[in-house]
């Protein structure tokens, strides 16, 4: 695990050999100017290694989707960004439109919550799956063969027939498989999955996750998995970042997030969610409601909802420190996980 606090210096020569799929360093985002400026993200550092699965977890307004989208250069209208975003060696914030288009076409793909929003309803599935390949110069016949193979591998029955069908002829789960097939058709370095299974039934979710994992492993694709579901993140991710009010609160190895949360917010989330396994335990709500960065208090953003907060939490944004298997922005992690 990287230490979040120190921006990593990288030697240029061997960067290509060991470069990350995604590196977001101290990214801050704001819209508007002067007194009317609204901050959205502050000092967000997120890294996804090659072939790694990394979770980005948080509630509404945490900035998890904004962070993921920034990797494709998809910033809110009029947003000003500072920091650095690099995907497969491309400096995204400095890139021109053509470079970004090329990046989205070949190096980085995205899967959204609603597959119907990602597909043009009046175009056939076959067109959707071959357009990325055709744009890279693959001959039509080869592209069609590749699309057929992809549909077969994501478990669509009668793939040849499916190529000729329209999105409305598929269920949500089947359509999300098609979108995943399309997203991985170019064998990208990075897959951004923004709540890809939230709209699906729980049994379908398990199948789609299994598919994502298999495809990702086969291609060595790094995946940034954005979700509000802590259980899901801990189940499939190598590492997890927990975001709150536009900042990263904790970075942890996937499984140890459950056994040893180091931030009061992470622990609060775990205690607030009812569980289906083990002894039936009382749930403990976190007081107040989730905040966006613009409405969060100074110092630690979580301090107005935190049971451990003291006066010192208001003085400055807590620096990241290592505690157990976590890197955490809290002054008293030892009181969260002794």
């Amino acid at each position: 695990m990287t230490v979040l606090a120190n921006g990593r210096e990288r030697a240029g020569e061997d960067a290509a050999a060991q470069r990350d799929a995604l590196s977001v360093e101290r990214l801050s985002l704001a819209v508007g100017h002067g007194d009317a400026a609204v901050p959205l993200l502050a000092d967000v550092t997120v890294r996804v290694g090659r072939g790694e699965t990394v979770g980005l977890v948080g509630e509404s307004g945490s900035g998890k989707s904004l962070t993921a989208r920034s990797a494709l250069g998809l910033l809110p209208r009029g947003a000003r960004a500072t920091g650095r975003v690099e995907v497969a060696g491309v400096d995204v914030l400095a890139a021109d439109r053509r470079t970004l288009r090329e990046l989205r076409r070949t190096r980085a793909s995205m899967v959204f919550q609603d597959p119907r929003a990602a597909l043009n309803p009046v175009r056939r599935i076959g067109d959707y799956l071959t357009e990325g390949l055709r744009a890279r110069g693959t001959p039509a016949r080869d592209a069609a063969a590749r699309a057929l193979d992809l549909l077969d591998r994501v478990g669509i029955r009668d793939p040849a027939g499916a190529l000729r069908r329209y999105p409305h002829e598929f269920s949500g789960g089947m359509l999300q498989r098609v979108v995943i097939a399309g997203a991985l058709s170019t064998e990208p370095d990075l897959l951004l999955a923004d709540e890809p299974t939230t709209a699906l039934d729980v049994t379908t979710q398990a199948e789609v996750i299994g598919l994502l994992r298999r495809m990702q492993r086969a291609h060595g694709t790094g995946m940034l998995f954005v979700t509000h579901d802590l259980d899901l993140a801990a189940a499939i991710c190598d590492r997890v970042y927990v975001m709150y009010a536009g900042r990263v609160m904790e970075e942890s190895a996937g499984a140890s997030l459950f056994t040893a949360p180091a931030h009061p917010y992470t622990r609060g989330l775990l205690e607030a969610g009812p569980s289906v396994r083990g002894e039936k335990a009382a749930i403990r709500p976190i007081r107040g409601r989730p905040r966006a960065l613009a409405e969060a208090p100074g110092g630690c953003s979580f301090r107005d909802r935190c049971p451990l907060a003291g006066d010192d939490c208001a003085e400055a944004v807590p620096a990241y420190r290592t505690h157990g298997a976590s890197v955490v922005a809290c002054l008293r992690p030892e009181r969260v996980a002794p």
Partner: protein
């Protein structure tokens, strides 16, 4: 279903002398054209009890809820509410077993609707749907009282304050329009409005599904407290087994319109008997999540 025995098949006679169910659903069927959305659903809900209806999309759980709320007419079967048949061939008459309790108010669909609404209220996933966007929350909460119990405005105002307090909304929130409140506050407002007529049954359809985890916990805690304090009964419709475990004592699991498993919620989660229930449980992510087992469950179900 009384929930006294885990294997209770529902629809059995109420124990002698014991409290009678506040809600009894018998062999409920709802067809839309050729599609049978609900296929022979039966259960009993006792006063102060909480029953979960679990299922995925297409299971018929929401259609069942809509029939209970009177938003859809059943194709066959009956719904008895508070001792009176409110849906089915003999709707409007006292239930056969209801004895003298259910008096037939003379005619009128509107009166029937009012009668039902005074005993059963529904909470939806999106509270926007149950609140008038142009009215303050306090006025929305007062509205059902004006309909059901016309009386002096001062009395209503006091009751509105009491209700807002009960669901944890400030007076300032009461004076706000729905759009100025957060999702959690809006769901609180919808609950206050539903409680205004002192119903015996609250029907919650994915009522906490759209809320953030920390807010969901606040609403679940509120629901716990309300049931403890008022003795109201819940029918809790949800796809989320963890939430159902927290809110209910008994549950039915639905698939393709049918009840495939019923019993105590804890028993269902610990020793699921139907392969579909097992699939649902194994599909829930956990640190030792076994996706191969999910695939095996699915195949076992297909063989059925």
């Amino acid at each position: 279903m009384t929930g006294n025995t885990p294997a209770d098949t529902g629809g059995s006679a109420v124990a002698d002398g014991a409290a009678r169910p506040v809600l009894r659903v018998t062999s409920l069927v709802k067809r839309f054209g050729d599609v049978t959305a609900v296929d022979g659903v039966s259960f009993d809900l006792m006063p102060g009890a909480s029953l979960g209806i679990v299922g995925e999309s297409g299971s018929g759980k929401t259609t069942t809820a809509r029939v209970l709320a009177g938003l859809e007419r059943p194709t066959s079967g009956t719904v008895e509410l508070d001792g009176r048949v409110v849906a089915g061939p003999e709707a409007g008459r006292p239930a056969a077993r209801g004895g003298t309790r259910g008096r037939v108010p003379g005619g009128g669909a509107r009166r029937d609707r009012l009668w039902r609404a005074s005993r059963l209220q529904m909470i939806f996933q999106d509270p926007y749907g149950s609140l008038d966007p142009r009215q303050t929350v306090a006025r929305s909460v007062a509205e059902p009282m004006r309909l059901h119990a016309p009386g002096p405005a001062a009395g209503r105002r006091a009751r509105v304050r009491e209700l807002l307090d009960q669901v944890g909304l400030s007076e300032r929130a009461g004076g706000s329009l729905p759009r100025d409140l957060s999702g959690g506050q809006r769901q609180r407002a919808a609950i206050a409005r539903a409680l205004a007529v002192r119903p015996r049954v609250l029907l919650l359809d994915e009522a906490v599904a759209a809320l953030d985890v920390s807010i969901q916990a606040q609403i679940l805690t509120l629901l716990d407290g309300l049931r403890r304090d008022t003795g109201i009964s819940y029918v809790f419709v949800s796809h989320d087994l963890a939430v159902v475990r927290h809110v209910t004592e008994t549950a039915i699991v639905m698939r393709h319109g049918r009840v495939v498993e019923r019993g105590g919620t804890e028993r269902i989660l610990r020793e699921p008997r139907h392969p579909y229930t097992r699939l649902l449980l194994d599909s829930i992510p956990s640190p030792d999540w076994d996706l191969d087992r999910v695939a095996r469950d699915r195949r076992a179900l297909d063989r059925l």
